[in-house]
């Protein structure tokens, strides 16, 4: 019984309420938000520590025993993701001080961001399938608001696509959930792990698992369901794209991991091959899309897709090492991707544009910013000794060990292509001199880079380097998470309390 599983969920909602009440006082909003984000991060760290020390943390809300009541459960994966969420939350909230206009903050940007984080944390920590659906909806609602906040033309167009496909995905999820209830009579995920294997109608169970795969595949941006992502992620303010790209698609990946380890463990049959193929195609199409584009944030959006492919590859291989690789990749990727989006915002402030054509000269005029791009960008591409190198190495090694040589080659090649598109950004935005025709306008629009926005970018870059150099504890944590995922009996026991 541990209340710590509830704090990272309840806290952001409390902060949101306070922030809504004080929406006309920017300073108070900043103070409350920063405190809330720091507390959220602290609570996440305590939770992770408790999971390390005492094992899986479970809370039965109002003491209704599982599987009858609402259950919150934090294993290594959930706790790690909550910590990373806390880091991104703090970084992005700090960044938004410099990025978000006062009008937008008055119109409720802050509460929406807090609610979004609450929903994300809830999705990571819930032990109940229906609650997962509710948290998805909470997240979705907040993300709709954030995506179109400000109501620019481009945002509305991206927003329509995002909203339409995501609503469809949640409906598919809800339908799958209803069918699970029909065949199993329970929605507690640990209980389902026990009940689902004994359902006589295997065909129906397989159909349900495909419903979940489609629903979460849309959320995660899996091939061929990713097209909404690059159509919308480059439209909102930079802070919003950073939090979306870091966390939202990863909730989809998390749900995929949870579903296909706990509810429908992959067993080498058709579904596993489907996931492997989808992972490979996701990696390839994502990176090719990135190669074709010439707008900073669009390139980054396509990279999200290709990176999601790596994580799903780890899940689909379904060996302990591969699972650890997927978890490590997830952690590394959230930090790096959020940071890259933040850097894109800083670069825009400096050059006045997101179009690579119109950018340039950052390396010469602002070497620090160039360095801050270089670290996450080449970590994403997998350069040693940065975090991405280890993440890719573990996954490629796992695919070799599983005898999937083709997939190992694909993963390595996609890494190379990632370098290509990153060097495109590097060459165009950082090395090339600023195009003369726009030079005057850009200099005029150039704003001093504020400490609110530089500090989080620098800290996230520092974390990427730290994970790269001091990799062992992070790999150990991922291995522990993978061990729990591959042997769900421990999770089941912790939730259901020993009853068979």
């Amino acid at each position: 019984m541990s209340g710590w599983t509830l704090i990272p969920v309840v806290l952001p909602f409390a902060v949101a309420a306070a922030s809504l009440l004080l929406r006309n006082r920017a300073r108070w909003q900043t103070a409350i938000g920063m405190t809330g984000a720091a507390l959220h991060l602290t609570a996440g760290c305590v939770l992770l520590w408790r999971v390390q020390r005492f094992g899986i943390q479970v809370l039965h809300v109002a003491s209704w025993p599982a599987p009858f009541g609402i259950t919150m459960a934090a294993d290594h994966l959930g706790a790690l993701l909550v910590v990373i969420t806390g880091i991104v939350y703090t970084a992005v909230f700090s960044y938004s001080q410099a990025d978000i206009s006062p009008e937008l903050r008055k119109n409720g940007y802050d509460p929406l961001l807090h609610i979004l984080i609450g929903g994300i944390s809830g999705a990571f920590l819930t032990g109940d399938l229906f609650n997962l659906y509710v948290w998805f909806e909470v997240m979705l609602m907040a993300s709709f608001g954030l995506l179109v906040a400000g109501g620019k033309r481009k945002q509305l167009e991206g927003g329509v696509k995002y909203v339409v496909i995501n609503l469809l995905a949640t409906l598919l999820f809800l339908a799958g959930l209803g069918l699970v209830f029909a065949v199993a009579g329970t929605l507690n995920m640990a209980h389902l792990h026990q009940v689902l294997p004994s359902v006589p109608d295997r065909g129906l169970v397989a159909a349900i698992s495909v419903l979940f795969l489609t629903a979460f595949g849309i959320k995660a941006g899996l091939f061929p369901l990713f097209f909404w992502l690059p159509a919308s992620y480059h439209t909102p303010p930079v802070s919003v794209s950073a939090v979306f790209s870091g966390l939202l698609t990863k909730v989809g990946v998390y749900a995929l991991i949870r579903t296909f380890t706990l509810l429908f463990p992959l067993d080498g049959a058709g579904l596993q091959n489907l996931l492997l193929a989808a992972a490979a195609l996701t990696m390839v199409t994502g990176v090719l899309g990135a190669a074709a584009h010439a707008e900073f944030r669009r390139i980054l959006s396509f990279h999200i897709i290709s990176q999601v492919g790596y994580m799903v590859l780890g899940l689909a291989l379904f060996t302990p090492l591969a699972m650890a690789g997927a978890v490590f990749y997830l952690l590394h990727h959230i930090l790096v991707k959020a940071n890259l989006f933040l850097v894109s915002g800083l670069s825009r402030q400096w050059t006045g544009s997101f179009e690579l054509e119109k950018m340039g000269g950052i390396y010469r005029s602002r070497a620090v910013l160039a360095l801050l791009f270089f670290i996450p960008a080449f970590s994403l591409a997998g350069f040693p000794p940065l975090s991405g190198f280890w993440a890719k190495m573990v996954l490629i090694r796992a695919s070799l060990e599983a005898g999937q040589f083709g997939l190992a080659v694909v993963a390595a090649m996609v890494g190379l292509l990632t370098v290509y598109s990153m060097s495109k950004i590097w060459g165009e935005a950082f090395w090339k001199p600023l195009p003369a025709m726009d030079a005057s306008g850009a200099v005029e629009g150039r704003r001093r880079l504020s400490a609110w926005s530089l500090a989080p970018v620098a800290l996230l870059a520092l974390m990427t380097v730290t994970i790269g150099i001091w990799v062992e504890p992070f790999v150990n944590l991922s291995m522990a998470a993978a061990h729990e995922l591959m042997n769900p009996e421990g999770y089941v026991q912790a939730v259901l309390g020993g009853s068979p």
Binding site: F144, R153, L168, A175, G178, L179, F181, A182, F227
Partner: protein
């Protein structure tokens, strides 16, 4: 009872898919409404509505006497209805705002998201 529910759910899903395939965003919303209702009926059917009495505990007892209906699906549907109500009202406003700004509700014209979309209007990228 269940076969009738299954039939209705099937018809609703078929209708909603037909509507959602339309290029008109308004048709799409109505498709979404139908799909939401279909899913709610699906959950209702999942609770095996076979005419059992409601789960009320008679005075002086600690547990219901005899078989009672499963009330959980109703709770789930109620939650889903409330959520979808909020989401749909947001979607209506969003589409209206999009119509005001973009001047169209035809999805074919909402394709300003590929690389250099204005140069090659038939580009298949990202749309």
């Amino acid at each position: 009872m269940e076969s009738m529910l299954a039939l209705i759910t099937g018809c609703l899903v078929a209708g909603s898919i037909y509507l959602m395939l339309s290029r008109n965003l308004i048709h799409f919303i109505f498709g979404l409404v139908l799909a939401g209702n279909a899913v709610n009926l699906l959950i209702f059917a999942a609770g095996r509505p076979n005419g059992d009495p409601p789960p009320l505990i008679p005075p002086g007892q600690w547990a219901p006497v005899g078989p009672v209906a499963n009330s959980l699906p109703q709770a789930l549907i109620l939650t889903a209805i409330v959520i979808s109500f909020a989401l749909l009202s947001f979607v209506f406003i969003l589409f209206y705002r999009a119509y005001q700004e973009l001047g169209t509700i035809d999805t074919e014209t909402l394709r300003n998201d590929g690389p250099a979309a204005e140069v090659t209007p038939h580009s298949e990228d990202g749309a």
